[in-house]
Protein backbone atom coordinates (compact mmCIF):
# COMPACT_ATOMS: atom_id res chain seq x y z
CA UNK A 1 0.00 0.00 0.00
CA UNK A 2 2.73 2.41 1.02
CA UNK A 3 4.77 1.26 -2.00
CA UNK A 4 1.81 2.10 -4.20
CA UNK A 5 1.31 5.53 -2.68
CA UNK A 6 5.04 6.21 -2.88
CA UNK A 7 5.03 5.30 -6.59
CA UNK A 8 1.96 7.49 -7.12
CA UNK A 9 3.69 10.37 -5.30
CA UNK A 10 6.78 9.96 -7.43
CA UNK A 11 4.64 9.86 -10.59
CA UNK A 12 2.86 13.08 -9.52
CA UNK A 13 6.22 14.73 -8.86
CA UNK A 14 7.54 13.71 -12.29
CA UNK A 15 4.30 14.88 -13.88
CA UNK A 16 4.49 18.26 -12.15
CA UNK A 17 8.11 18.69 -13.26
CA UNK A 18 7.34 17.71 -16.87
CA UNK A 19 4.28 19.97 -16.94
CA UNK A 20 6.23 22.93 -15.58
CA UNK A 21 8.97 22.36 -18.17
CA UNK A 22 6.38 22.17 -20.98
CA UNK A 23 4.59 25.27 -19.66
CA UNK A 24 7.71 27.45 -19.48
CA UNK A 25 9.10 26.08 -22.75
CA UNK A 26 5.78 26.91 -24.39
CA UNK A 27 5.80 30.43 -22.97
CA UNK A 28 9.31 31.05 -24.32
CA UNK A 29 8.60 29.35 -27.66
CA UNK A 30 5.35 31.29 -28.06
CA UNK A 31 7.26 34.53 -28.32
CA UNK A 32 9.81 34.12 -31.12
CA UNK A 33 10.39 37.88 -31.16
CA UNK A 34 12.17 37.70 -27.84
CA UNK A 35 13.61 34.18 -28.03
CA UNK A 36 14.66 34.24 -31.68
CA UNK A 37 13.53 31.90 -34.42
CA UNK A 38 16.17 29.21 -33.76
CA UNK A 39 15.29 28.93 -30.04
CA UNK A 40 11.59 28.97 -30.97
CA UNK A 41 11.98 26.06 -33.37
CA UNK A 42 14.39 23.88 -31.37
CA UNK A 43 12.44 24.39 -28.15
CA UNK A 44 9.18 23.48 -29.85
CA UNK A 45 10.78 20.39 -31.38
CA UNK A 46 12.04 19.34 -27.94
CA UNK A 47 8.57 19.97 -26.52
CA UNK A 48 7.36 17.11 -28.73
CA UNK A 49 9.36 14.68 -26.55
CA UNK A 50 8.05 16.34 -23.37
CA UNK A 51 4.50 16.07 -24.73
CA UNK A 52 4.97 12.33 -25.33
CA UNK A 53 6.21 11.93 -21.72
CA UNK A 54 3.18 13.92 -20.49
CA UNK A 55 0.85 11.59 -22.41
CA UNK A 56 2.68 8.49 -21.14
CA UNK A 57 2.26 9.67 -17.55
CA UNK A 58 -1.48 10.13 -18.15
CA UNK A 59 -1.83 6.92 -20.16
CA UNK A 60 -3.98 5.03 -17.64
CA UNK A 61 -6.45 7.92 -17.42
CA UNK A 62 -6.62 8.21 -21.21
CA UNK A 63 -7.29 4.46 -21.67
CA UNK A 64 -9.83 4.40 -18.82
CA UNK A 65 -11.87 7.34 -20.13
CA UNK A 66 -11.59 6.19 -23.75
CA UNK A 67 -13.24 2.88 -22.71
CA UNK A 68 -15.94 4.50 -20.59
CA UNK A 69 -16.54 7.68 -22.59
CA UNK A 70 -20.06 6.71 -23.72
CA UNK A 71 -20.83 5.06 -20.40
CA UNK A 72 -20.87 6.46 -16.88
CA UNK A 73 -18.53 9.42 -16.93
CA UNK A 74 -19.28 12.78 -15.34
CA UNK A 75 -19.63 15.88 -17.48
CA UNK A 76 -16.40 17.54 -16.36
CA UNK A 77 -14.34 14.43 -17.16
CA UNK A 78 -16.01 14.20 -20.56
CA UNK A 79 -15.30 17.88 -21.33
CA UNK A 80 -11.75 17.39 -20.09
CA UNK A 81 -11.26 14.37 -22.34
CA UNK A 82 -12.58 16.18 -25.43
CA UNK A 83 -10.49 19.23 -24.60
CA UNK A 84 -7.38 17.04 -24.33
CA UNK A 85 -8.08 15.60 -27.78
CA UNK A 86 -8.51 19.12 -29.14
CA UNK A 87 -5.19 20.12 -27.57
CA UNK A 88 -3.50 17.07 -29.06
CA UNK A 89 -4.91 17.68 -32.55
CA UNK A 90 -4.16 21.40 -32.39
CA UNK A 91 -0.65 20.72 -31.09
CA UNK A 92 0.00 18.23 -33.90
CA UNK A 93 -1.18 20.69 -36.56
CA UNK A 94 0.84 23.48 -34.94
CA UNK A 95 3.95 21.29 -35.02
CA UNK A 96 3.42 20.19 -38.62
CA UNK A 97 2.79 23.75 -39.83
CA UNK A 98 5.84 24.85 -37.84
CA UNK A 99 8.01 22.27 -39.60
CA UNK A 100 6.57 23.30 -42.96
CA UNK A 101 7.70 26.90 -42.46
CA UNK A 102 10.88 26.01 -40.57
CA UNK A 103 13.80 28.39 -41.02
CA UNK A 104 16.22 26.80 -38.55
CA UNK A 105 15.52 23.13 -37.72
CA UNK A 106 14.83 21.66 -41.17
CA UNK A 107 17.44 23.76 -43.05
CA UNK A 108 20.03 22.65 -40.47
CA UNK A 109 19.15 19.07 -41.38
CA UNK A 110 19.58 19.91 -45.06
CA UNK A 111 15.84 19.82 -45.77
CA UNK A 112 14.17 22.66 -47.68
CA UNK A 113 10.45 22.72 -48.29
CA UNK A 114 8.47 24.76 -50.82
CA UNK A 115 7.13 27.92 -49.23
CA UNK A 116 3.41 28.10 -48.78
CA UNK A 117 1.68 30.92 -46.97
CA UNK A 118 -1.21 28.69 -45.91
CA UNK A 119 1.13 26.86 -43.49
CA UNK A 120 2.14 30.10 -41.87
CA UNK A 121 -1.44 31.24 -41.40
CA UNK A 122 -2.30 27.81 -40.03
CA UNK A 123 0.67 27.99 -37.65
CA UNK A 124 -0.45 31.38 -36.27
CA UNK A 125 -4.04 30.21 -35.93
CA UNK A 126 -3.20 26.93 -34.18
CA UNK A 127 -0.69 28.66 -31.87
CA UNK A 128 -3.35 31.16 -30.74
CA UNK A 129 -5.88 28.37 -30.29
CA UNK A 130 -3.29 26.34 -28.35
CA UNK A 131 -2.82 29.22 -25.91
CA UNK A 132 -6.56 29.36 -25.27
CA UNK A 133 -6.83 25.56 -24.93
CA UNK A 134 -3.83 25.51 -22.60
CA UNK A 135 -5.63 28.05 -20.40
CA UNK A 136 -8.73 25.83 -20.34
CA UNK A 137 -6.61 22.73 -19.69
CA UNK A 138 -4.90 24.48 -16.76
CA UNK A 139 -8.25 25.69 -15.42
CA UNK A 140 -9.77 22.21 -15.51
CA UNK A 141 -6.74 20.82 -13.65
CA UNK A 142 -6.44 23.78 -11.28
CA UNK A 143 -7.20 21.69 -8.19
CA UNK A 144 -4.41 19.27 -9.08
CA UNK A 145 -2.01 22.16 -9.84
CA UNK A 146 -2.69 23.83 -6.47
CA UNK A 147 -2.44 20.54 -4.53
CA UNK A 148 0.79 19.54 -6.26
CA UNK A 149 2.35 22.97 -5.73
CA UNK A 150 1.41 22.87 -2.04
CA UNK A 151 2.74 19.33 -1.58
CA UNK A 152 5.91 19.40 -3.68
CA UNK A 153 6.98 23.04 -3.74
CA UNK A 154 5.52 25.17 -0.94
CA UNK A 155 5.60 22.51 1.82
CA UNK A 156 9.25 21.48 1.24
CA UNK A 157 10.21 25.17 0.97
CA UNK A 158 8.34 25.95 4.20
CA UNK A 159 10.10 22.99 5.83
CA UNK A 160 13.47 24.37 4.73
CA UNK A 161 12.71 27.81 6.18
CA UNK A 162 11.42 26.46 9.47
CA UNK A 163 14.49 24.18 9.77
CA UNK A 164 16.75 27.20 9.19
CA UNK A 165 14.78 29.16 11.81
CA UNK A 166 15.14 26.34 14.34
CA UNK A 167 18.88 26.22 13.65
CA UNK A 168 19.14 29.99 14.24
CA UNK A 169 17.23 29.75 17.52
CA UNK A 170 19.40 26.83 18.68
CA UNK A 171 22.56 28.75 17.81
Amino acid sequence: MSELSSSSRSSTRIKLTVDLVIFFAFLIAMDPRSSGIAVHEWLASAALAALVVHLLLSWDWIVQISRRFFGRVNLQTRINYLLNWLLFIDGSIMMLSGFMISEAVLPSLGITLPRNFAWRELHDLTANLFLLLLGLHTALHWGWVVDSFKRYIFKPLGGLFSAAKRKDVAA
Binding site: R33, G36, S92, R115, F117, L122
Partner: protein, 101 residues
Protein backbone atom coordinates in the same frame (compact mmCIF):
# COMPACT_ATOMS: atom_id res chain seq x y z
CA UNK B 1 8.28 -2.72 -24.20
CA UNK B 2 4.90 -1.46 -23.01
CA UNK B 3 6.22 2.11 -22.98
CA UNK B 4 7.68 1.76 -26.48
CA UNK B 5 4.33 0.47 -27.73
CA UNK B 6 2.56 3.45 -26.15
CA UNK B 7 5.05 5.89 -27.68
CA UNK B 8 4.42 4.27 -31.05
CA UNK B 9 0.64 4.65 -30.61
CA UNK B 10 1.04 8.35 -29.72
CA UNK B 11 3.33 8.97 -32.71
CA UNK B 12 1.04 7.07 -35.10
CA UNK B 13 -2.01 9.08 -34.00
CA UNK B 14 0.01 12.29 -34.28
CA UNK B 15 1.19 11.20 -37.74
CA UNK B 16 -2.41 10.54 -38.79
CA UNK B 17 -3.50 14.03 -37.70
CA UNK B 18 -0.52 15.55 -39.51
CA UNK B 19 -1.15 13.46 -42.63
CA UNK B 20 -4.79 14.51 -42.83
CA UNK B 21 -3.80 18.16 -42.30
CA UNK B 22 -1.12 17.95 -44.99
CA UNK B 23 -3.58 16.44 -47.45
CA UNK B 24 -6.25 19.07 -46.66
CA UNK B 25 -3.86 22.02 -46.95
CA UNK B 26 -2.37 20.76 -50.20
CA UNK B 27 -5.79 19.93 -51.61
CA UNK B 28 -6.66 23.56 -50.93
CA UNK B 29 -4.33 24.35 -53.82
CA UNK B 30 -2.34 26.97 -52.00
CA UNK B 31 1.09 25.53 -52.72
CA UNK B 32 3.86 27.62 -54.27
CA UNK B 33 3.07 28.98 -57.67
CA UNK B 34 4.85 27.59 -60.71
CA UNK B 35 8.13 29.36 -61.18
CA UNK B 36 8.94 29.19 -57.50
CA UNK B 37 7.16 32.38 -56.45
CA UNK B 38 5.11 31.87 -53.35
CA UNK B 39 1.54 33.01 -53.55
CA UNK B 40 1.58 35.01 -50.32
CA UNK B 41 3.77 37.63 -51.90
CA UNK B 42 0.92 38.40 -54.23
CA UNK B 43 -1.19 39.27 -51.25
CA UNK B 44 1.28 41.89 -50.15
CA UNK B 45 2.79 39.90 -47.29
CA UNK B 46 6.56 39.92 -46.90
CA UNK B 47 8.51 36.68 -47.34
CA UNK B 48 9.31 34.38 -44.47
CA UNK B 49 11.77 35.64 -41.95
CA UNK B 50 11.53 39.28 -42.94
CA UNK B 51 8.20 40.06 -41.44
CA UNK B 52 8.59 39.29 -37.79
CA UNK B 53 11.60 37.58 -36.40
CA UNK B 54 14.60 39.06 -38.10
CA UNK B 55 15.72 42.58 -38.68
CA UNK B 56 15.38 43.83 -35.13
CA UNK B 57 12.47 44.41 -32.85
CA UNK B 58 9.22 45.82 -34.09
CA UNK B 59 8.44 49.44 -33.41
CA UNK B 60 7.10 50.35 -30.02
CA UNK B 61 8.60 47.35 -28.27
CA UNK B 62 12.05 48.58 -27.46
CA UNK B 63 13.40 48.72 -23.91
CA UNK B 64 11.94 45.76 -22.10
CA UNK B 65 9.30 45.29 -24.77
CA UNK B 66 10.70 41.84 -25.50
CA UNK B 67 9.01 40.58 -22.36
CA UNK B 68 5.64 41.77 -23.60
CA UNK B 69 4.86 38.59 -25.53
CA UNK B 70 5.56 36.31 -22.57
CA UNK B 71 3.62 38.51 -20.14
CA UNK B 72 0.73 38.72 -22.62
CA UNK B 73 0.61 34.93 -22.97
CA UNK B 74 0.71 34.41 -19.20
CA UNK B 75 -2.05 37.04 -18.94
CA UNK B 76 -4.27 35.22 -21.45
CA UNK B 77 -3.85 31.92 -19.56
CA UNK B 78 -4.45 33.66 -16.21
CA UNK B 79 -7.66 35.28 -17.50
CA UNK B 80 -9.00 31.97 -18.83
CA UNK B 81 -8.11 30.17 -15.58
CA UNK B 82 -9.72 32.92 -13.47
CA UNK B 83 -12.88 32.96 -15.60
CA UNK B 84 -13.36 29.25 -15.01
CA UNK B 85 -11.95 28.62 -11.56
CA UNK B 86 -13.46 31.63 -9.77
CA UNK B 87 -17.17 31.00 -10.58
CA UNK B 88 -16.66 27.30 -9.81
CA UNK B 89 -15.11 28.11 -6.44
CA UNK B 90 -17.89 30.62 -5.59
CA UNK B 91 -20.58 28.09 -6.54
CA UNK B 92 -18.91 25.41 -4.39
CA UNK B 93 -18.74 27.76 -1.40
CA UNK B 94 -22.41 28.71 -1.83
CA UNK B 95 -23.40 25.05 -2.02
CA UNK B 96 -21.40 24.31 1.12
CA UNK B 97 -22.91 27.20 3.05
CA UNK B 98 -26.42 26.25 1.87
CA UNK B 99 -25.85 22.68 3.02
CA UNK B 100 -24.53 23.89 6.38
CA UNK B 101 -27.35 26.39 6.87
Amino acid sequence: MKTLWRILVILVVMGLVMGVTYAVVNAGGSVSLPGGEPRFEERGRPPFGEERFEGGRPEGREGGGWMFGIVKNVGVIAVVVTLIVLPKSVARKRRRSAAAG
